[in-house]
Subunit: 244 residues, 2 copies
């Protein structure tokens, strides 16, 4: 048989068969004088075995192992490992699908894919169009993605944010947008903010890791100078108490 015939016979492409030769999975068969490969029935049986094994999901390396020692001992070993691997993949797919389903059920225009803890928090947040509040929500989704929500800090944040007094603080921060860095409102606002933050939150935020020097600068760069003063003091307080 020529390569096209055996390929049609066992249901593979000629390209695949040549590939198997190339990577050494199968030895090159003899050639006719014109260079054509010649296959016999044993080759076909072999290729059929290869096809069945690859269709089961074995890699070519695994197929090679199985073909090498056909004691049947190795086969069961590889197959069990493969089954475990498939089980893991199946579980992963199911989890992704469940998260996908949650996303699709969500109303459009939502914040995108976020953890349930953060979703609850955002739902709790009072409706305000303060730019500072919007920024904060954005940073919360960032911390969510960074995996910061692990210690349940979103729950603490939720009770904090649900407080209507916080809205007023956001507005005081907004008011500092055009202010100079020596504006007298800076110090009292920083103090009021720190007073509102519950002690657990100071403890829950890691002083290293996320709140790292570069991040601090980047975050302050998002605010006007006077606002940055306030936010910077708050962050300093976090980092000091986090260490203590």
């Amino acid at each position: 048989m020529r390569i096209g015939e055996i390929a049609a016979l066992v249901g593979l492409t000629t390209r695949a068969i040549r590939h198997y030769h190339h990577v050494g999975l199968l030895p090159e068969p003899e050639r006719r004088p014109n260079g054509y490969r010649v296959y016999n029935v044993r080759d076909a049986v072999l290729l059929a075995r290869v096809r069945r094994l690859t269709e089961l999901g074995l890699s070519l390396d695994e197929v090679r192992d199985v073909l090498a020692d056909d004691a049947g001992r190795e086969l069961a070993e590889v197959l069990e490992e493969l089954d475990a691997d498939l089980a893991r993949q199946e579980a992963a797919i199911r989890e992704r699908r469940s998260r996908l389903g949650a996303l699709l059920a969500e109303p459009p225009g939502a914040a995108g894919p976020v953890s349930p803890a953060l979703a609850a928090l955002l739902a709790q947040a009072p409706r305000t169009d303060s730019p500072s509040a919007a920024k904060d929500r954005e940073y919360l989704t960032l911390m969510d993605a960074a995996g910061a929500g692990g210690q349940g800090i979103f729950g603490v944040f939720g009770t904090l944010i649900a407080d209507p007094a916080v809205v007023e603080l956001y507005e005081r921060l907004d008011a500092l947008a055009e202010a100079p860095t020596d504006d007298p409102r800076i110090a009292p606002l920083a103090a009021d903010l720190m007073a509102v933050v519950p002690e657990e939150l100071f403890a829950a935020i890691p002083a290293d890791g996320v709140v790292v020097t570069g991040f601090r600068e980047a975050l302050l760069a998002e605010y006007t100078p006077a606002q940055a003063e306030v936010v910077g003091r708050l962050m300093d307080a976090f980092m000091e108490r986090g260490r203590g």
Copy 2:
């Protein structure tokens, strides 16, 4: 932030982020005088979104589409398509696992992964150590892999093979191993073989496709000359009746 900081923040590798720049998923950020990339918090939010989307299983191209028109319209579209794709993958994995399970439950030393129809046939076959019978069983697994079992021909074959008279025919074929091509036993054996084959089998085997010129030669090459005579006559009969 430098690239290492933002990478740690959003839970990606620096290599991944540079890759995103390289393929144009994200624009290159500004540089410090020393060439270092500088990231801000908005970049972090963006990268966090990218991470969540890729973790859901979107390809980078799909992520780019979603990021491009953040109308939220495209997103649902892509997500539904993705979900359908995942559903297909899940089904495929489940089918593979079920076949794997069948294989693992099988006693060791079996013929390997075969269709249930062929498995039933092989179980039915009488115990004989005739080399010709062994060859036939091998070719049957080959036809199985080639998808020839579709028309239920294995069932017909089963009733044929279960006949103890067939064993005697195999032995007569074995006996021709060393015989010359003009051995007088050739003609009667071929006739007896054809007589045993039920008419349905002639009709069920396609004259084109599997039984193609190259295959015929290859198959005959497996036998000694006298045996090939017998098998060749049988095949000729198949091909003629298949056409008629």
